[in-house]
């Protein structure tokens, strides 16, 4: 039983990070029909920005702030203006392909300008264990969970309780009507890109101490967030959160109860089943057909 408890906690912690990444992913999809295949690389990059800032002598806290700001400029503003804006009118697929190319570009740039080797990354939570209900739980898992929950809570409050959040939802659900009633749709879309950049930077800060900073680490992470977003519901923030936690737990359980060789297959098979029988996702609502 103790083993199961540990697995659940570890699964929830990774799942919370997946959820952060998946939420950003669904936000981009909702407001601008962007399927961001570079989302995993978006998580990989901020850690290197922070490492670079520390390399030139900034203390850790300043490096974190600089890293988050830089990723909001690069992965939020520049990504939207340079790649998404010119391509949005031309449908989903060309833009999705362009983000695939962007993923290659980011990976290669990090490999070339930083390092091809994995670098250690300082943790924002102290290492060590504390006792919860008689089980030793790592402080890191708890720290990750707390930060991720706070971020998600903050985001849902923003979306559901503030006028700004309502404007963002209106811009996502029906841009034409939103524009008519005076919502600055363009600014709202930009805002979602900035939020996504913030979320991936946060995820980067949380996950990199566990998995090290490596140029290729985005691949696995991107795919997990991708699956989480679809399983939970592509068009719902709460769906993405549930999906993230679910995939995190499933991943960890599969690693110890299914063969290690096929652990990666479990979330995928789950994904196929969900798409075939409930394509709108576990918590999503069905999309209206445009025909």
């Amino acid at each position: 039983m103790s083993n199961l408890f540990d697995l659940l906690v570890a699964g929830l912690a990774t799942g919370a990070i997946y959820a952060l990444v998946a939420v950003g992913f669904t936000l981009l999809w909702q407001t601008s029909q962007t399927i961001n295949f570079a989302q995993g690389e978006f998580v990989m990059l901020p850690a290197f920005l922070m490492l670079a800032a520390m390399h030139v002598g900034a203390p850790f806290w300043l490096a974190i702030i600089l890293g988050i700001l830089l990723s909001m400029i690069l992965l939020g503003l520049a990504f939207k203006m340079l790649l998404v804006d010119p391509m949005m009118r031309h449908g989903v697929l060309p833009l999705a392909i362009a983000t695939m190319a962007l993923a290659i570009g980011i990976k290669e740039a990090v490999k070339q300008f930083f390092s091809a080797e994995a670098s250690p990354f300082p943790s924002i939570v102290p290492t060590g264990d504390i006792s919860v209900l008689g089980h030793a739980v790592s402080l890191q898992s708890i720290g990750v969970l707390v930060v991720a929950i706070l971020a998600v809570f903050g985001l849902t409050t923003l979306l559901n309780r503030t006028s700004l959040g309502h404007q963002m939802q209106a811009a996502a659900q029906n841009p034409t009507v939103a524009r008519i009633i005076g919502v600055p749709v363009e600014r709202m879309i930009l805002l979602t890109f900035l939020i996504n950049a913030f979320l991936v930077a946060l995820a980067s800060l949380l996950i990199t101490p566990i998995y090290l900073a490596k140029f290729s680490s985005g691949e696995v992470l991107g795919q997990a967030a991708f699956i989480a977003a679809i399983v939970g519901g592509f068009n719902q923030v709460r769906g993405a959160i549930a999906g993230g936690l679910l995939i995190g737990v499933l991943d960890n359980l599969a690693a110890s109860y299914v063969s290690t060789q096929y652990r990666a297959a479990v979330p995928l098979i789950f994904l196929i089943v969900v798409i075939l029988f409930r394509p709108q996702g576990l918590l999503g609502r069905a999309e209206e057909r445009t025909v």
Partner: protein, 332 residues
């Protein structure tokens, strides 16, 4: 392409074909390998172009079919079967698996379909890696023999390049015929307006499955040539990024254009090689080039040409109308 005069087009085609036969004769081993790889990837991209470009079904699994074909060929030829038999087996196997993969397309479309096929692609990779009794696992299969064609051994790079080129020619002719047949028209109807296609009596169900199965079978052919080309296969080349690369080839070349895959494969296989002189930067520059191209023309390279031709045609047509109008006026 219809803007060119027909003799000019035929002449251009003959020059390109002659160039592909003659020019590589004094290429070195590596140059021939890259060019053979281009031919093989073009075949796989043509299959995906049928599924995606003509029938409008998004697939992120073409790389998995190249893998299926490659493993079928590797396993059979190392057990003494001739390559043609292995290619036939690769076609049948990929066709069957592709047919089954088509079933989700009957239920879900667009991005959902992309995700199902993406999941399939990764699952196929896991099977290649883990079922080592069949596929050799991470150690792969080595010493894959190359075939004798009309009694000539193709162990040297140049003869095998001609095998790849010849296969590409056969596939090209077959696809050319297919897209002009009623089937090709049905595929396009499926892409443009599935509801209307159905109301016109087209069995959209069957054609959707067919689009997947035929496209996948071509992926299998490409794989069956890839195995003897590299003479050694392991699971790594057939992971998800091959599927993404193939999709990129089709879109960059121009989805739904017959010559799209040729150009797309050229960019994906040859451009990185041409950029090698920039050393560590070559893949970065390649990624930037692809993004710039897509921003400029989301319909790919042939989309640019197509727009140019369309603009010229409307200009010519309005000139003709102007002439006709003035004739009418003088007649009155």
């Amino acid at each position: 392409m219809s803007g060119f005069a027909k003799p000019l087009k035929i002449a251009l085609g003959l020059i390109v074909i002659a160039g592909l036969i003659v020019v590589p004769m004094n290429f070195n081993r590596y140059g021939l390998f890259i060019l053979s790889q281009w031919a093989v990837m073009t075949i796989a991209a043509m299959g995906l172009n049928l599924t995606l470009g003509y029938a409008g079904q998004v697939s992120l699994a073409q790389g998995a079919f190249v893998g299926i074909g490659a493993y079928a060929a590797a396993i059979m030829t190392t057990h003494g079967w001739p390559l043609p038999a292995a290619i036939a087996a690769a076609i049948v196997l990929s066709f069957a698996v592709g047919w089954v993969l088509g079933y989700p397309a009957l239920r879900v479309q667009h991005h959902y379909l992309a995700f199902v096929t993406l999941a399939f692609s990764t699952l196929a990779f896991l099977v290649f890696r883990n079922e080592s009794w069949l596929t050799g696992g991470i150690y792969g299969i080595s010493n894959i023999p190359r075939p004798h064609v009309f009694g000539i051994a193709t162990n040297k790079p140049l003869p095998f390049y001609y095998v790849c080129l010849g296969s590409l020619a056969i596939v090209s002719v077959a696809v050319w015929w297919l897209i002009r047949s009623p089937w090709g028209r049905a595929f396009m109807a499926l892409r443009e307006n599935p509801l209307r296609a159905q109301s016109l009596g087209i069995d959209t169900r069957r054609y959707t499955l067919m689009a997947f199965a035929i496209g996948s079978a071509l992926g299998g052919v490409a794989g069956a040539l890839y195995a003897p080309l590299t003479q050694y296969i392991d699971p790594v080349p057939f992971n998800l990024s091959l599927s993404l690369d193939l999709l990129m080839m089709v879109i960059v070349g121009g989805a739904g254009f017959y010559f799209g895959p040729f150009l797309g494969a050229m960019i994906a296989v040859l451009l990185p090689e041409w950029l090698r002189f920039t050393e560590g930067y070559y893949l970065m520059l390649y990624a930037i080039a692809v993004m710039a191209l897509l921003i400029w023309s989301p319909t790919g390279i042939l989309g640019i040409l197509d727009r140019y031709m369309a603009a010229r045609r409307t200009k010519a047509a309005s000139a003709l109308r102007a002439v006709a109008k003035s004739r009418l006026e003088t007649a009155q």
